[in-house]
């Protein structure tokens, strides 16, 4: 990776030598100051197109026309998703923090694929047959792509399909999830909710965002002033960047759309050491996500859960551009003295597992008799699974669970359905496949359960074959089979002998015990 800093930043007050020294010592990072116009930074990068593929550009001002800048980068043989631009003039001491975040984000970039880019033709003016003769301007949108080897849609997972506000994700006849590229707007909602991180969005992968946030909050370990993370819609990023002055407490993290930021991310960022976290959507009619209510509900959920845990709810906020600009609102609440939070999430990627640890850490600071009540909320990133009577421990739920929150445990004569509340995202995949219809799932945040170890929801005895002594099935399953088949000879054989002995494929394995 190469970090290029515009030499003119010296005049803007940046201690360029210090910055070069700081980033030049990062492993795998080369830092250079260059004399050159900020208006055509791709000229600096093009000579390196064949070798280094990741860059951070520290400019006085960002290129004014981003799509045109990206087009120039592509023409120079560069991948715009691998180039992070930070405008640093008038950023004061924040400049190096912002640079550290950009370096971390680009360092976590894992490459992009041809399917991540969607050309869109911009037909202009009233259309006639004549206008069809000339190719109109093309702009490119970065859109997600599914990694088939990691996706578990074939096992029944439908989390991304439910998250997509444009019905762009649908399973095919083979059960595999397909992305309708024409419908996809690249909002990224599917990317941040996929429990298997099987959907790539170059430039904004959860791993990259997580790395940037971690670098931003760690950049000034001795600085006790409050610092907040501001997830900013890409369409507002330039305006927000201009409004955040050298003393601003908010540190912006750009995402393609605020709809990409789920409540789990907001909660986990608090655990990474941020004083506060906010989301800034674009509020435009052509918002990529188009569901401001979902973003609002997500923030409302976070505030409610914090309140129940005794933490200030204003540590999570929904902001507009005007809020960032106003001096009063730019003051981020002071960090609460809860050292357990920062260590709780460690290097976990952004997601429900990290958020669960933050909530457990927050709850741990309260008196034991003040344990918070469970919170049922449609935006809860966690779920609770319950089993009614009649579970046969067939394992269909465990097979369908995309996070392994449900598993089947066999130990000696016992068979159990085990539930790990800290892994459950409440997707309901288990309930949809249960043949006995005994599974219920609710979107509930129950911090007491999140803190507990995996627990058995159902236990049974494994019945043994009368011929070979091998396992047949759990007792309840055999009871169910008898109920379906009646008490005839077939039922008797099926429920007393294992599959191999019934099929006679264990020659010489004795006679009935």
């Amino acid at each position: 990776m190469i970090v290029f800093l515009c030499a003119d930043l010296r005049r803007a007050g940046l201690d360029l030598d210090h910055a070069l020294e700081q980033f030049g010592t990062h492993p795998g990072v080369e830092a250079r100051a260059m004399d050159g116009p900020c208006s055509s930074p791709e000229r600096w990068l093009a000579p390196h197109a064949a070798g280094t593929m990741r860059f951070v550009l520290g400019l006085c001002e960002p290129p004014p026309d981003r799509p045109a800048f990206h087009a120039r980068l592509r023409r120079a043989g560069l991948d715009p998703s691998a180039v992070e631009v930070v405008s640093l003039a008038s950023r004061g001491e924040r400049a190096e923090i912002l640079l550290a975040g950009a370096v971390a984000r680009v360092a976590a970039f894992e490459g992009s694929r041809p399917e991540n880019l969607k050309p869109v033709l911009h037909w202009q003016g009233p259309m006639s047959r004549r206008s069809l003769f000339t190719v109109p301007p093309v702009h490119y949108e970065v859109i997600p792509a599914i990694r088939r080897e990691a996706c578990v849609a074939a096992a029944g997972c439908r989390v991304c399909e439910a998250a997509c506000p444009h019905q762009a994700l649908r399973p095919g006849a083979d059960g595999e999830m397909n992305l309708d590229r024409a419908r996809c707007t690249g909002c990224g909602a599917c990317v941040s909710t996929c429990p298997r991180t099987a959907i790539d969005l170059p430039g904004t992968s959860p791993r990259q965002v997580s790395a940037q946030v971690a670098a931003l909050v760690a950049a000034t370990p001795d600085d006790q002033r409050p610092r907040g993370i501001l997830f900013t819609c890409a369409r507002e990023a330039a305006a927000v960047g201009r409004l955040l002055g050298p003393a601003a407490a908010w540190l912006p993290v750009e995402v393609p759309c605020a709809g990409m930021v789920p409540p789990a991310w907001l909660l986990q960022v608090l655990g990474m050491g941020a004083s506060a976290v906010a989301v800034l959507p674009c509020a435009r009619d052509d918002c990529r996500f188009g569901r401001p209510d979902v973003v609002q509900e997500g923030v409302a959920y976070c505030r409610e859960v914090l309140e129940r845990l005794g933490a200030p709810p204003d540590r999570v906020r929904l902001l507009g551009t005007a809020d960032v600009a106003s001096p009063a609102a730019s003051g981020v609440p002071a960090r609460q003295a809860q050292p357990c939070e920062r260590t709780a999430v460690g290097a976990l990627p952004l997601g429900p597992a990290g958020a669960a640890r933050v909530l457990v850490a927050l709850a741990g600071t309260r008196a034991a008799d003040a344990a918070p009540r469970a919170l049922a909320h449609p935006r809860s990133p966690f779920g609770v699974v319950e089993l009614a009577r009649g579970c046969t421990a067939c394992g269909a739920c465990a097979h369908a669970c995309p996070t392994s929150a449900l598993s089947i445990q066999r130990r000696q004569e016992r068979v159990a359905v085990i539930f790990d509340p800290s892994l459950c995202i409440g997707c309901g995949g288990c309930a949809s496949v249960c043949p006995e219809r005994v599974v219920t799932v609710s979107k509930v945040t129950d911090v007491r359960r999140l803190a507990r170890l995996p627990e058995p929801l159902h236990e049974d005895v494994e019945m043994r074959c009368e011929m070979c002594g091998g396992p047949i099935a759990p007792r309840e399953m055999l009871r169910r089979i008898r109920a379906l088949l009646g008490e005839g000879a077939v039922a008797a054989t099926v429920t007393r002998r294992c599959l191999e002995c019934r099929a006679g494929i264990r020659p010489g394995r004795g006679t009935p015990a």
Partner: protein, 229 residues
């Protein structure tokens, strides 16, 4: 210049035809003819397809042309051996078979072959009596796309946008239902089996071009709908 500006759909169709047909030729077995013909063509195409620099597949395409342009030396024998190792022969033991039927369920193969036959004949093409390849071979499918682009280009040159609509829609459907479906997996497999080799470049360029073309053609076909509205 913004991507696309100043280029006519007729010129674009001609360039796309060139790319499809050239890719189809590159993915044939590199025998003596291949080694004698393609490297000089690759050197010439670098200039001839310069108008494509505005599109993001230019990077993989240019890398392919440069590498192929330097292959008429001793590197040719290596490429020939690599081809057999990666794409195999007719014995069916290839690591990365270069035919669509290897990437669908066996039960779906008859339907695939019937569908391809219908696509080809529906577009007015029939296979030559001495055609020894397979309907679903990557070279056949790429060549078919080249032929569709040629038909589209003819229509644009006649300034007959209505006649251009049909091949455009055929191209969009064929890319979505065939090349766009199996090329990513195929290119992924080749990248694993030939990480530093020529065919990794060739398949990456083919997939980058097909992925882009699928969207571009669909968008272009959408222009007709806008007129209809």
């Amino acid at each position: 210049m913004e991507p696309g500006r100043g280029l006519s759909f007729g010129e674009l169709a001609r360039l796309r035809e060139t790319v499809y047909r050239f890719l189809a030729a590159v993915l044939l077995h590199p025998g003596a003819d291949w080694l004698a013909t393609l490297p000089p063509v690759a050197r010439a195409l670098g200039q001839e397809t310069k108008a494509l620099t505005v599109f993001p597949f230019w990077g993989p395409w240019a890398r392919l042309l440069v590498t192929l342009g330097e292959l008429d030396g001793p590197g040719g024998k290596v490429v020939s051996d690599d081809y057999t190792r990666i794409f195999g022969s007719t014995s069916g033991d290839a690591a990365c078979p270069a035919r669509e039927s290897a990437y669908v369920q066996p039960a779906d193969v008859p339907e695939l072959m019937t569908g391809l036959h219908a696509e080809y004949s529906g577009a007015g093409f029939s296979l030559a009596p001495d055609f020894a390849g397979s309907l679903d071979d990557v070279t056949t499918e790429l060549e078919f796309m080249g032929l569709l682009c040629a038909g589209e280009g003819d229509a644009w040159r006649r300034r007959d946008s209505i006649a251009a609509k049909e091949p455009l829609e055929r191209e969009a459907a064929f890319l979505e239902q065939h090349l766009g479906r199996w090329l990513p997996e195929w290119a992924g497999r080749v990248a694993l089996h030939d990480p530093g080799g020529f065919f990794r470049l060739a398949t990456a360029a083919a997939w980058a071009f097909v992925a882009h073309d699928g969207d571009l053609v669909r968008e272009a076909a959408g222009g007709f709908e806008r007129i209809a509205r």
